[in-house]
């Protein structure tokens, strides 16, 4: 996040909130960057993480969402959607991406000027 603010991040609209199923996710491709997984929890909170599990790089977007967490489809690590930390006893972290919802649209905070 710090690095992106140096680069000046811009809010990019990616979809409407209802384009993401509740307890599901969508994958966002952004030129020259790793794919981003955008999740929608049952309480309609929206989160975005780089789509790579801290364990062996599994696609978190294909995981099962519960509470504010997602369980990776490959070996069932559970990653917290709020901060990208793997839940104990596993350790590891995946980068979080800024996200906001305004008037039913979902925006990602992405490095600008690319």
């Amino acid at each position: 996040m710090n690095t992106s603010s140096l680069q000046q991040s811009v809010w990019v609209s990616i979809c409407g909130i209802d384009d993401i199923p509740r307890l599901g996710s969508r994958v966002v491709h952004h030129q020259g960057h790793a794919p981003i997984a955008v999740f929608r929890a049952s309480d309609d909170h929206v989160f975005a993480l780089v789509d790579r599990c801290p364990h062996q790089g599994g696609p978190l977007s294909a995981g099962l969402v519960h509470g504010h967490a997602v369980t990776c489809p490959l070996h069932s690590w559970t990653v917290c959607l709020e901060d990208g930390q793997a839940q104990a006893p596993d350790v590891g972290c995946v980068r979080k991406v800024d996200v906001k919802v305004e008037a039913g649209r979902v925006f990602l905070g992405l490095p600008g000027g690319s």
Partner: protein, 810 residues
């Protein structure tokens, strides 16, 4: 809302476990205050033995450090003994002048070492073995003194004796009875044990009654005297003749006790605001001196303290193990046997092995093992499951490995394994890692080991080995339960069976409704319970319960198999393994067009296209124009066939045609786990019918059905089910059996495990012997399948269903 006050007397294993269970249910109900006599936070008492020998340190055995109490807002008073309960004012008072009000009081005062009523027990140098203070006294004495006498040849006495000997003392064990561990072992095993402890330098004085402990005139011990007049010189006396439930406080407060604080099945004492758990308790006339029962009590007590009011404690079967490194002793259940039991024994005194298994009415009820305790966990499970041992009987003595385990045969002896041996092949976890986690993290169950080490969390074939390691490390404290008794996951307290029952009886049809009704602890469940719930709802209420895609794991959501690099594999259906030139041409074109890195023939007679990107899946399906092979689902997979009568010179029936008919009849069927069938045209069995969930073998006069085979982790040979005449009979019997399995099995239970739980006879009674029931089962299956459409075609046609696969761009 004002919080209620919960006061806990006794900062030991039972009291704190109850609080842990309570916090899982409700963190906001109580202000919690804990009083403990000892100047330590809660520690793992059973590991005092390895601390005494020097194999572990005191820091290693702390279960909840001070920060744990702080994090959970618990007020902890250490070094503070509750001396009085004022039940009228609902208040407790301590020896250091504190008072505390309570709405609920939990007594967990443990037990006290029993002192023989002989002169001299107050001399300097007489110790017991119960807490950290005692261990420190013994360690200090061992550094200064030479000779020790341990009075009592039970578990505690022998562990104390071994520990002092390892610290260099000359140790004699004095025992009243004729054989050691008389409550855990029979005479034959005890004799072997005594022999090997003697080899390690321990002396034994059997059948001696202590009459007095003798002083040296300056207040310290100099020896002991026996009833027969003999004397033995010593500098230290360890009194380990038994324990008594600590009921002083309850007695003084007028709470009913009878060799323990008397509680009912909800762990409530005669005063309804006061609960009691652990060694201080007397439940249905039993007081337990082991950890496993008190954990069960803790769960139930917590449930009632949390005002859920549904748990019941019905007593425990216990097992014990002597924790002396290098000596393996294990016993469980009614190992002594009686008039109505039979025993199978194996004795090899030279090899130092003795085993005795006690059987009543075709059920294993007790086991006593010496020297080779590898199968202790397995026997303990059989005892608790209490099911007929039937065909197992002949091999019972030779252990679990003798009943066919292609996964791990030949490497089943945990005790002798070096720490570097790999236990969990899936996750690459070795024995040392597991042992370390059990010791350092204070783990008691396989689930906890799974969580902390990942061992046994994938294919599960090493679960038995993990159970053995648990038993080896912590003995009877290992909390080992058959799946039918285990809660589905940490989100709820219900077993799979209870869940199925509630869904049926309460007519629950959606996941949120079920979670609300059964008071799930987490908002959306987890990756373990949601897929199971979804299956139970769908299979109980077909047409009514809606399939919840977000509760299916990725393979069933994407209708393809995820691979380790995040790509997918696609297996189109080929009915009965039969294909055509035009299908093959389309497959080849797809492989070219999408640059499929690998095209492979599967073991189920189909073609697998591996390495397809998720976003390409709908297009691939469209171009293939073939139905889904469901190679990814907990559902019907393939029906493997041989060529049969049409071409083969041995064939007796059209096995290929039968296979295709079955596959068309069952396609789209979801089930607790994957289901595979095979049809062979004669007993030569080229389609491998013997290792399928349903295997069919054609004979001249009809068709033989076999059920419960499995070629997976553990090869299971299918068992003969029934012989039928016609093609339609095959469809009905096979369908009815599968419907029974769909209705009764637990999620992720293969047919072989289901059958070993309910018994083949049960399935035969419901399907073979009862024609009306068979017809109903088959009709229910047809009804359920009637709602299923081909998932690939559905996703090709509907834009909304394609959303799972389409990426967004920014």
């Amino acid at each position: 809302m004002k919080k209620m006050k919960l006061v806990v007397v006794g900062n030991g294993m039972a009291g704190i476990r109850t609080i842990e269970e309570l916090l899982k249910l409700d963190t906001s109900l109580y202000d919690i205050t804990v009083f403990g006599s000892e100047p330590h936070p809660n520690y793992n008492r059973i590991l005092l033995s390895p601390v005494l020998t020097g194999e572990q340190t005191l820091e290693d055995i702390i279960l909840n450090d001070r920060s744990w109490y702080e994090e959970h807002g618990i007020t902890l008073h250490m070094n503070s003994t509750v001396t009085r309960i004022n039940r009228a004012r609902k208040e407790v008072m301590t020896d250091d002048g504190k008072t505390a009000r309570y709405d609920r009081l939990l007594l967990a005062t443990g037990s006290k070492p029993f002192m023989l009523p002989v002169p001299g027990t107050d001399l300097d140098g007489v110790v017991t073995f119960r807490d950290i203070g005692d261990v420190n006294r013994m360690i200090e004495a061992a550094g200064r003194l030479k000779r020790a006498v341990v009075i009592g040849g039970g578990l505690l006495g022998l562990e104390a004796a071994n520990g002092l000997a390892m610290r260099g003392m000359q140790v004699s064990v004095v025992h009243l009875g004729a054989s050691l561990l008389d409550r855990q072992l029979d005479g034959a095993a005890a004799a072997l044990l005594q022999g090997s402890l003697h080899e390690r330098g321990l002396e034994f004085l059997m059948e001696r009654q202590t009459e007095a402990i003798l002083g040296n005139g300056q207040g310290a011990v100099r020896g002991i005297r026996f009833r027969d007049g003999g004397e033995l010189e010593t500098d230290l006396v360890v009194m380990a003749v038994g324990i008594r439930p600590n009921t002083d406080l309850a007695d003084a407060a007028g709470i009913h006790t009878d060799r323990g604080v008397v509680v009912n099945d909800t762990l409530q004492t005669y005063d309804p605001s006061i609960y009691a758990v652990g060694e201080c308790v007397s439940h249905r006339g039993m007081a337990y001196g082991l950890v496993a029962p008190l954990f069960e009590q803790a769960k139930v007590a917590a449930n009632h303290l949390a005002l859920h009011g549904i748990g019941r404690y019905g007593g425990s079967t216990t097992s014990t193990k002597l924790k002396v490194t290098g000596i393996d002793v294990f016993s469980a259940g009614e190992f002594m046997g009686g008039a109505d039991t039979e025993a199978i024994t194996l004795a090899d005194p030279v090899g130092g092995v003795y085993k005795k298994l006690v059987i009543r009415d075709d059920r294993l009820i007790g086991a006593c093992l010496y020297g080779d305790t590898v199968d202790g966990a397995w026997y303990f499970r059989l005892i608790r499951e209490a099911k007929s041992i039937g065909e197992l009987r002949e091999n019972l003595m030779f252990g679990e490995s003798s009943i066919g385990d292609t996964g791990h045969s030949g490497e089943n002896s945990i005790a002798g394994m070096p720490d570097t041996t790999e236990i969990c092949g899936c996750n690459g976890v070795c024995k040392g890692t597991i042992v370390k986690a059990i010791r350092e993290k204070g783990l008691f169950t396989v689930d906890e080991v799974k969580k902390h080490t990942k061992a046994a969390s994938s294919c599960g074939s090493c679960t038995g080995l993990v159970e053995q390691i648990l038993i080896n490390c912590i003995g009877g404290a290992a909390d080992i339960k058959p799946k039918s008794e285990k809660a589905i996951c940490a989100c709820a307290d219900y077993t799979h069976g209870e869940l199925r029952k509630a869904i049926r009886e309460q007519h629950l049809t959606s996941i949120p409704e079920t979670m609300r009704f059964l008071e799930w602890r987490s908002p959306d469940g987890c990756a373990t319970c949601r897929p199971a719930l979804n299956y139970y709802l769908m299979s109980t209420w077909p047409g009514e319960a809606r399939d919840d895609t977000q509760s299916r794991l990725i393979n069933e959501r994407a209708h393809a198999n995820i691979q380790k690099d995040g790509t997918y594999s696609v297996v189109p259906r080929m009915w009965g393994g039969v294909t055509s030139p035009s299908e093959l041409r389309r497959i080849a074109d797809v492989a070219d067009k999408y640059h499929v890195p690998m095209v492979k023939v599967t073991g189920g007679q189909r073609i697998d296209l591996l390495g397809i990107r998720k976003e390409d899946l709908p297009a691939v399906w469209k171009d293939l124009d073939m139905p889904s092979g469901h190679a990814y689902g907990k559902s019907l997979r393939t029906v493997k066939t041989c060529v049969g009568k049409e071409f083969c010179r041995f064939g007796t029936q059209d096995s290929t045609g039968m296979g295709i008919a079955l596959e068309k009849d069952l396609v789209g069927m979801w089930s607790p786990h994957k289901v595979k069938l095979a049809v062979s045209g004669c007993p030569r069995n080229c389609a491998e019918s013997g290792i399928k969930d349903i295997g069919i073998i054609a004979v001249d006069s009809g068709w033989e059905l076999y059920v419960g085979g499995n070629g997976g982790i553990k090869t299971e040979v299918a068992q003969f089910f029934v012989k039928v005449q016609t093609h339609d009979d095959v469809l009905e019997y096979a369908g009815a059996f599968l419907q029974l399995y769909r209705e009764e099995a637990f999620y992720l239970e293969r047919t072989c495990h289901y059958l070993s739980r309910v018994g083949l006879e049960h399935a035969k009674a419901r399907v073979v012997d009862d024609a009306a029931n068979r017809a109903e089962l088959y009709a229910r299956l047809r009804f359920a399948i009637s709602f299923e459409k081909d998932p690939w075609a559905e996703r090709v046609e509907q834009a909304s269903a394609r959303r799972e696969f389409e990426n967004l761009t920014a």
